[in-house]
Symmetry: C2
Subunit: 159 residues, 2 copies
DNA sequence: TATTGTTATACTCTATAACTATA
DNA sequence: TATAGTTATAGAGTATAACAATA
Protein backbone atom coordinates (compact mmCIF):
# COMPACT_ATOMS: atom_id res chain seq x y z
CA UNK A 1 0.00 0.00 0.00
CA UNK A 2 1.12 3.50 -0.66
CA UNK A 3 -0.54 4.97 2.38
CA UNK A 4 2.17 6.61 4.33
CA UNK A 5 2.78 9.60 6.42
CA UNK A 6 1.07 12.45 4.62
CA UNK A 7 -1.86 13.99 6.38
CA UNK A 8 -4.60 13.37 3.85
CA UNK A 9 -3.63 11.21 0.92
CA UNK A 10 -5.51 12.83 -1.97
CA UNK A 11 -5.74 9.71 -4.05
CA UNK A 12 -6.90 7.50 -1.23
CA UNK A 13 -9.53 10.11 -0.55
CA UNK A 14 -10.64 10.54 -4.13
CA UNK A 15 -10.66 6.83 -4.86
CA UNK A 16 -12.73 6.01 -1.82
CA UNK A 17 -15.18 8.77 -2.64
CA UNK A 18 -15.39 7.61 -6.23
CA UNK A 19 -16.23 4.13 -5.07
CA UNK A 20 -18.69 5.34 -2.51
CA UNK A 21 -20.28 7.48 -5.17
CA UNK A 22 -20.67 4.52 -7.49
CA UNK A 23 -22.20 2.49 -4.70
CA UNK A 24 -24.71 5.18 -3.80
CA UNK A 25 -25.58 5.55 -7.43
CA UNK A 26 -26.70 1.94 -7.51
CA UNK A 27 -28.80 2.04 -4.37
CA UNK A 28 -31.96 3.19 -6.04
CA UNK A 29 -33.09 0.37 -8.29
CA UNK A 30 -36.75 0.88 -7.44
CA UNK A 31 -36.71 4.62 -7.77
CA UNK A 32 -37.56 5.62 -11.27
CA UNK A 33 -36.60 9.18 -10.54
CA UNK A 34 -33.49 11.08 -11.48
CA UNK A 35 -30.91 12.39 -9.07
CA UNK A 36 -31.76 15.97 -9.89
CA UNK A 37 -35.47 15.30 -9.50
CA UNK A 38 -34.97 13.78 -6.05
CA UNK A 39 -32.67 16.59 -5.02
CA UNK A 40 -35.15 19.19 -6.23
CA UNK A 41 -37.98 17.61 -4.27
CA UNK A 42 -35.74 17.53 -1.24
CA UNK A 43 -34.93 21.20 -1.65
CA UNK A 44 -38.63 22.00 -1.88
CA UNK A 45 -39.36 19.93 1.20
CA UNK A 46 -36.71 21.44 3.41
CA UNK A 47 -36.78 25.00 2.12
CA UNK A 48 -40.38 25.41 1.10
CA UNK A 49 -41.75 26.79 -2.20
CA UNK A 50 -39.22 28.37 -4.52
CA UNK A 51 -39.07 30.22 -7.76
CA UNK A 52 -38.25 28.08 -10.75
CA UNK A 53 -35.10 30.07 -11.43
CA UNK A 54 -33.97 29.69 -7.82
CA UNK A 55 -34.38 25.95 -8.12
CA UNK A 56 -32.30 25.92 -11.28
CA UNK A 57 -29.43 27.67 -9.48
CA UNK A 58 -29.78 25.49 -6.39
CA UNK A 59 -29.61 22.29 -8.42
CA UNK A 60 -26.94 23.52 -10.77
CA UNK A 61 -28.94 23.15 -13.98
CA UNK A 62 -30.10 25.65 -16.56
CA UNK A 63 -33.46 27.35 -16.48
CA UNK A 64 -34.82 25.42 -19.47
CA UNK A 65 -33.75 22.17 -17.86
CA UNK A 66 -35.59 23.12 -14.69
CA UNK A 67 -38.65 24.13 -16.71
CA UNK A 68 -38.78 20.63 -18.18
CA UNK A 69 -38.05 18.94 -14.88
CA UNK A 70 -40.82 20.86 -13.15
CA UNK A 71 -43.16 19.95 -16.00
CA UNK A 72 -42.42 16.28 -15.44
CA UNK A 73 -42.77 16.63 -11.69
CA UNK A 74 -46.09 18.37 -12.20
CA UNK A 75 -47.30 15.75 -14.63
CA UNK A 76 -46.47 13.06 -12.05
CA UNK A 77 -48.19 14.99 -9.24
CA UNK A 78 -44.94 15.42 -7.35
CA UNK A 79 -44.85 19.22 -7.49
CA UNK A 80 -47.07 22.14 -8.50
CA UNK A 81 -46.61 25.41 -10.32
CA UNK A 82 -48.18 28.39 -8.55
CA UNK A 83 -48.56 32.02 -9.54
CA UNK A 84 -46.54 34.64 -7.75
CA UNK A 85 -48.72 37.34 -6.16
CA UNK A 86 -47.36 40.61 -7.42
CA UNK A 87 -45.14 39.49 -10.28
CA UNK A 88 -46.84 37.79 -13.18
CA UNK A 89 -43.58 36.59 -14.68
CA UNK A 90 -42.62 34.46 -11.72
CA UNK A 91 -43.47 30.78 -11.33
CA UNK A 92 -43.40 29.48 -7.78
CA UNK A 93 -42.88 25.73 -7.41
CA UNK A 94 -44.15 23.85 -4.39
CA UNK A 95 -44.05 20.26 -3.27
CA UNK A 96 -47.22 18.23 -3.83
CA UNK A 97 -48.39 15.38 -1.63
CA UNK A 98 -47.12 12.81 -4.07
CA UNK A 99 -43.67 14.33 -3.88
CA UNK A 100 -43.69 14.27 -0.12
CA UNK A 101 -44.69 10.62 -0.12
CA UNK A 102 -42.08 9.72 -2.72
CA UNK A 103 -39.37 11.36 -0.65
CA UNK A 104 -40.49 9.46 2.41
CA UNK A 105 -40.48 6.11 0.62
CA UNK A 106 -37.19 6.79 -1.07
CA UNK A 107 -35.53 7.85 2.16
CA UNK A 108 -36.91 4.79 3.90
CA UNK A 109 -35.61 2.44 1.23
CA UNK A 110 -32.16 3.97 1.07
CA UNK A 111 -31.85 4.09 4.84
CA UNK A 112 -32.79 0.44 5.09
CA UNK A 113 -30.24 -0.47 2.47
CA UNK A 114 -27.49 1.55 4.09
CA UNK A 115 -28.23 0.06 7.49
CA UNK A 116 -28.07 -3.36 5.90
CA UNK A 117 -24.67 -2.53 4.43
CA UNK A 118 -23.46 -1.02 7.67
CA UNK A 119 -24.40 -4.26 9.37
CA UNK A 120 -21.75 -5.98 7.32
CA UNK A 121 -19.05 -3.80 8.84
CA UNK A 122 -17.23 -4.42 12.08
CA UNK A 123 -18.30 -2.41 15.11
CA UNK A 124 -15.24 -0.20 15.05
CA UNK A 125 -15.71 0.46 11.36
CA UNK A 126 -19.29 1.51 11.97
CA UNK A 127 -18.10 3.77 14.76
CA UNK A 128 -15.52 5.34 12.46
CA UNK A 129 -18.16 6.08 9.84
CA UNK A 130 -20.56 7.56 12.35
CA UNK A 131 -17.79 9.67 13.88
CA UNK A 132 -16.99 11.10 10.46
CA UNK A 133 -20.57 12.05 9.58
CA UNK A 134 -20.48 15.61 10.93
CA UNK A 135 -17.30 16.32 9.01
CA UNK A 136 -18.69 14.68 5.88
CA UNK A 137 -21.81 16.76 6.23
CA UNK A 138 -19.72 19.89 6.33
CA UNK A 139 -17.74 18.66 3.37
CA UNK A 140 -20.95 18.11 1.46
CA UNK A 141 -22.12 21.64 2.15
CA UNK A 142 -20.44 23.06 -0.89
CA UNK A 143 -22.46 25.45 -2.95
CA UNK A 144 -23.28 24.73 -6.52
CA UNK A 145 -21.32 27.56 -8.04
CA UNK A 146 -18.27 28.35 -6.00
CA UNK A 147 -15.95 26.08 -4.11
CA UNK A 148 -16.50 27.33 -0.62
CA UNK A 149 -18.18 25.57 2.22
CA UNK A 150 -21.54 26.91 3.26
CA UNK A 151 -21.69 28.54 6.64
CA UNK A 152 -24.21 26.25 8.25
CA UNK A 153 -23.86 22.52 8.34
CA UNK A 154 -27.60 22.00 8.35
CA UNK A 155 -29.26 20.90 5.15
CA UNK A 156 -31.37 24.04 5.22
CA UNK A 157 -30.76 25.56 1.81
CA UNK A 158 -30.18 29.01 3.22
CA UNK A 159 -31.02 32.16 1.35
CA UNK B 1 -23.58 11.27 20.79
CA UNK B 2 -25.11 8.80 18.46
CA UNK B 3 -22.27 6.38 18.89
CA UNK B 4 -24.05 5.15 21.97
CA UNK B 5 -27.31 3.30 22.22
CA UNK B 6 -28.93 2.57 18.90
CA UNK B 7 -25.59 2.64 17.22
CA UNK B 8 -26.17 4.11 13.78
CA UNK B 9 -28.94 6.62 13.18
CA UNK B 10 -30.24 5.61 9.73
CA UNK B 11 -31.53 9.01 8.75
CA UNK B 12 -28.47 10.93 9.80
CA UNK B 13 -26.50 8.45 7.76
CA UNK B 14 -28.72 8.56 4.71
CA UNK B 15 -29.03 12.34 4.75
CA UNK B 16 -25.32 12.90 5.01
CA UNK B 17 -24.66 10.44 2.22
CA UNK B 18 -27.30 12.06 0.06
CA UNK B 19 -25.66 15.42 0.55
CA UNK B 20 -22.20 14.04 -0.03
CA UNK B 21 -23.48 12.39 -3.16
CA UNK B 22 -24.90 15.65 -4.46
CA UNK B 23 -21.61 17.39 -3.73
CA UNK B 24 -19.55 14.78 -5.54
CA UNK B 25 -21.91 14.96 -8.45
CA UNK B 26 -21.05 18.63 -8.89
CA UNK B 27 -17.29 18.26 -8.67
CA UNK B 28 -16.77 17.60 -12.34
CA UNK B 29 -17.67 20.80 -14.16
CA UNK B 30 -14.79 20.44 -16.59
CA UNK B 31 -15.34 16.79 -17.33
CA UNK B 32 -17.73 16.39 -20.18
CA UNK B 33 -18.02 12.70 -19.52
CA UNK B 34 -20.80 10.76 -17.86
CA UNK B 35 -20.54 8.90 -14.59
CA UNK B 36 -20.94 5.56 -16.29
CA UNK B 37 -18.37 6.44 -18.92
CA UNK B 38 -15.81 7.38 -16.28
CA UNK B 39 -16.57 4.30 -14.25
CA UNK B 40 -16.25 2.09 -17.32
CA UNK B 41 -12.87 3.57 -18.19
CA UNK B 42 -11.79 3.04 -14.61
CA UNK B 43 -12.88 -0.58 -14.76
CA UNK B 44 -10.89 -1.07 -17.95
CA UNK B 45 -7.85 0.57 -16.40
CA UNK B 46 -7.82 -1.46 -13.24
CA UNK B 47 -9.08 -4.76 -14.58
CA UNK B 48 -7.70 -4.73 -18.08
CA UNK B 49 -9.60 -5.50 -21.30
CA UNK B 50 -13.08 -6.91 -20.87
CA UNK B 51 -15.90 -8.31 -22.91
CA UNK B 52 -18.62 -5.82 -23.71
CA UNK B 53 -21.18 -7.92 -21.90
CA UNK B 54 -18.95 -8.13 -18.83
CA UNK B 55 -18.68 -4.36 -18.80
CA UNK B 56 -22.45 -4.03 -19.00
CA UNK B 57 -22.87 -6.23 -15.92
CA UNK B 58 -20.05 -4.50 -14.07
CA UNK B 59 -21.54 -1.07 -14.65
CA UNK B 60 -25.11 -2.14 -14.09
CA UNK B 61 -26.44 -1.18 -17.50
CA UNK B 62 -27.97 -3.19 -20.32
CA UNK B 63 -26.00 -4.63 -23.18
CA UNK B 64 -27.43 -2.20 -25.76
CA UNK B 65 -26.56 0.70 -23.48
CA UNK B 66 -23.00 -0.54 -23.22
CA UNK B 67 -22.84 -1.02 -26.98
CA UNK B 68 -23.69 2.64 -27.44
CA UNK B 69 -21.38 3.79 -24.68
CA UNK B 70 -18.47 1.86 -26.14
CA UNK B 71 -19.26 3.33 -29.54
CA UNK B 72 -19.01 6.83 -28.09
CA UNK B 73 -15.82 5.96 -26.21
CA UNK B 74 -14.36 4.57 -29.40
CA UNK B 75 -15.39 7.60 -31.42
CA UNK B 76 -13.63 9.81 -28.86
CA UNK B 77 -10.49 7.64 -28.86
CA UNK B 78 -10.97 6.69 -25.22
CA UNK B 79 -11.40 2.96 -25.79
CA UNK B 80 -11.10 0.39 -28.58
CA UNK B 81 -13.05 -2.60 -29.75
CA UNK B 82 -10.92 -5.69 -30.38
CA UNK B 83 -11.73 -9.09 -31.78
CA UNK B 84 -11.67 -12.09 -29.50
CA UNK B 85 -9.29 -14.80 -30.69
CA UNK B 86 -11.33 -17.96 -30.81
CA UNK B 87 -14.86 -16.64 -30.53
CA UNK B 88 -16.06 -14.42 -33.34
CA UNK B 89 -19.13 -13.29 -31.43
CA UNK B 90 -17.21 -11.65 -28.64
CA UNK B 91 -16.13 -8.01 -28.59
CA UNK B 92 -13.25 -7.21 -26.26
CA UNK B 93 -13.00 -3.62 -25.11
CA UNK B 94 -9.71 -2.10 -24.08
CA UNK B 95 -8.61 1.27 -22.81
CA UNK B 96 -7.01 3.59 -25.36
CA UNK B 97 -4.34 6.14 -24.60
CA UNK B 98 -6.88 8.94 -24.63
CA UNK B 99 -8.90 7.16 -21.99
CA UNK B 100 -5.89 6.68 -19.80
CA UNK B 101 -5.01 10.35 -20.05
CA UNK B 102 -8.58 11.42 -19.37
CA UNK B 103 -8.68 9.29 -16.24
CA UNK B 104 -5.45 10.81 -15.05
CA UNK B 105 -6.62 14.37 -15.59
CA UNK B 106 -9.98 13.70 -14.05
CA UNK B 107 -8.47 12.07 -10.99
CA UNK B 108 -6.06 14.95 -10.62
CA UNK B 109 -8.79 17.56 -10.83
CA UNK B 110 -11.12 15.81 -8.41
CA UNK B 111 -8.32 15.15 -5.95
CA UNK B 112 -7.29 18.79 -6.03
CA UNK B 113 -10.85 19.87 -5.45
CA UNK B 114 -11.38 17.47 -2.58
CA UNK B 115 -8.13 18.53 -0.96
CA UNK B 116 -9.26 22.12 -1.31
CA UNK B 117 -12.53 21.29 0.40
CA UNK B 118 -10.81 19.27 3.09
CA UNK B 119 -8.69 22.30 3.79
CA UNK B 120 -11.81 24.13 4.87
CA UNK B 121 -12.41 21.61 7.63
CA UNK B 122 -10.91 21.69 11.09
CA UNK B 123 -8.01 19.38 11.79
CA UNK B 124 -10.07 17.01 13.91
CA UNK B 125 -12.73 16.87 11.22
CA UNK B 126 -10.13 15.96 8.62
CA UNK B 127 -8.82 13.30 10.95
CA UNK B 128 -12.30 11.88 11.40
CA UNK B 129 -12.80 11.67 7.64
CA UNK B 130 -9.45 10.01 7.06
CA UNK B 131 -10.09 7.57 9.88
CA UNK B 132 -13.36 6.54 8.28
CA UNK B 133 -11.94 5.96 4.79
CA UNK B 134 -11.14 2.26 5.20
CA UNK B 135 -14.64 1.60 6.49
CA UNK B 136 -16.17 3.71 3.72
CA UNK B 137 -14.12 1.82 1.19
CA UNK B 138 -15.51 -1.42 2.50
CA UNK B 139 -18.99 0.04 2.47
CA UNK B 140 -18.52 1.06 -1.13
CA UNK B 141 -17.47 -2.43 -2.09
CA UNK B 142 -21.00 -3.55 -2.72
CA UNK B 143 -21.49 -5.62 -5.79
CA UNK B 144 -23.63 -4.37 -8.60
CA UNK B 145 -26.25 -7.05 -8.36
CA UNK B 146 -26.65 -8.30 -4.83
CA UNK B 147 -26.44 -6.43 -1.58
CA UNK B 148 -23.43 -8.11 -0.08
CA UNK B 149 -20.04 -6.66 0.50
CA UNK B 150 -17.28 -7.87 -1.72
CA UNK B 151 -14.68 -10.08 -0.15
CA UNK B 152 -11.66 -7.91 -0.76
CA UNK B 153 -11.72 -4.42 0.65
CA UNK B 154 -9.26 -2.78 -1.65
CA UNK B 155 -9.84 -2.46 -5.36
CA UNK B 156 -6.63 -0.53 -5.11
CA UNK B 157 -5.74 0.61 -8.52
CA UNK B 158 -3.96 3.78 -7.81
CA UNK B 159 -0.69 4.49 -9.29
C1' DT C 1 -30.97 -23.63 -30.11
C1' DA C 2 -28.09 -20.55 -27.23
C1' DT C 3 -24.92 -16.72 -26.86
C1' DT C 4 -23.03 -12.19 -28.20
C1' DG C 5 -23.66 -8.11 -29.83
C1' DT C 6 -26.19 -4.60 -32.70
C1' DT C 7 -30.12 -2.01 -34.48
C1' DA C 8 -34.76 0.16 -33.83
C1' DT C 9 -37.50 2.88 -31.09
C1' DA C 10 -38.79 5.65 -27.26
C1' DC C 11 -38.14 8.25 -23.19
C1' DT C 12 -35.47 11.10 -19.67
C1' DC C 13 -32.34 14.66 -18.97
C1' DT C 14 -29.34 18.16 -20.29
C1' DA C 15 -27.55 22.28 -22.99
C1' DT C 16 -27.71 26.58 -26.08
C1' DA C 17 -30.35 29.71 -28.69
C1' DA C 18 -34.53 31.93 -29.84
C1' DC C 19 -38.88 33.34 -28.32
C1' DT C 20 -42.99 35.20 -25.27
C1' DA C 21 -44.83 37.68 -21.52
C1' DT C 22 -44.35 40.76 -17.84
C1' DA C 23 -41.94 44.47 -15.50
C1' DT D 1 -34.50 47.37 -21.94
C1' DA D 2 -34.34 43.78 -18.44
C1' DT D 3 -36.22 39.72 -16.17
C1' DA D 4 -38.75 35.14 -15.82
C1' DG D 5 -39.93 31.48 -18.06
C1' DT D 6 -40.95 28.62 -22.25
C1' DT D 7 -40.21 26.54 -26.73
C1' DA D 8 -37.03 24.65 -30.33
C1' DT D 9 -33.47 21.79 -31.30
C1' DA D 10 -29.72 18.67 -30.52
C1' DG D 11 -27.24 15.25 -28.16
C1' DA D 12 -26.04 11.87 -24.23
C1' DG D 13 -27.70 8.13 -21.94
C1' DT D 14 -30.96 4.67 -20.76
C1' DA D 15 -34.45 0.78 -21.58
C1' DT D 16 -37.07 -3.00 -24.11
C1' DA D 17 -37.80 -5.56 -28.21
C1' DA D 18 -36.36 -7.29 -32.52
C1' DC D 19 -32.56 -8.68 -35.29
C1' DA D 20 -27.94 -10.68 -37.12
C1' DA D 21 -23.95 -13.40 -36.57
C1' DT D 22 -21.46 -16.98 -34.44
C1' DA D 23 -21.16 -21.05 -31.61
Amino acid sequence: MTSGGTDSDPYLLVNTFERLFAMLRRIHPDQHISLTAASTLHTLETGGPRRLSELAVAEGVTQPAMTQLVSRLERDSLAQRCAHPGDGRVVVVRLADGGRELLRARREARAARLVELMGALAADERAAVMAALPALDRLAAVRAGDGRLAAAASSAPDR
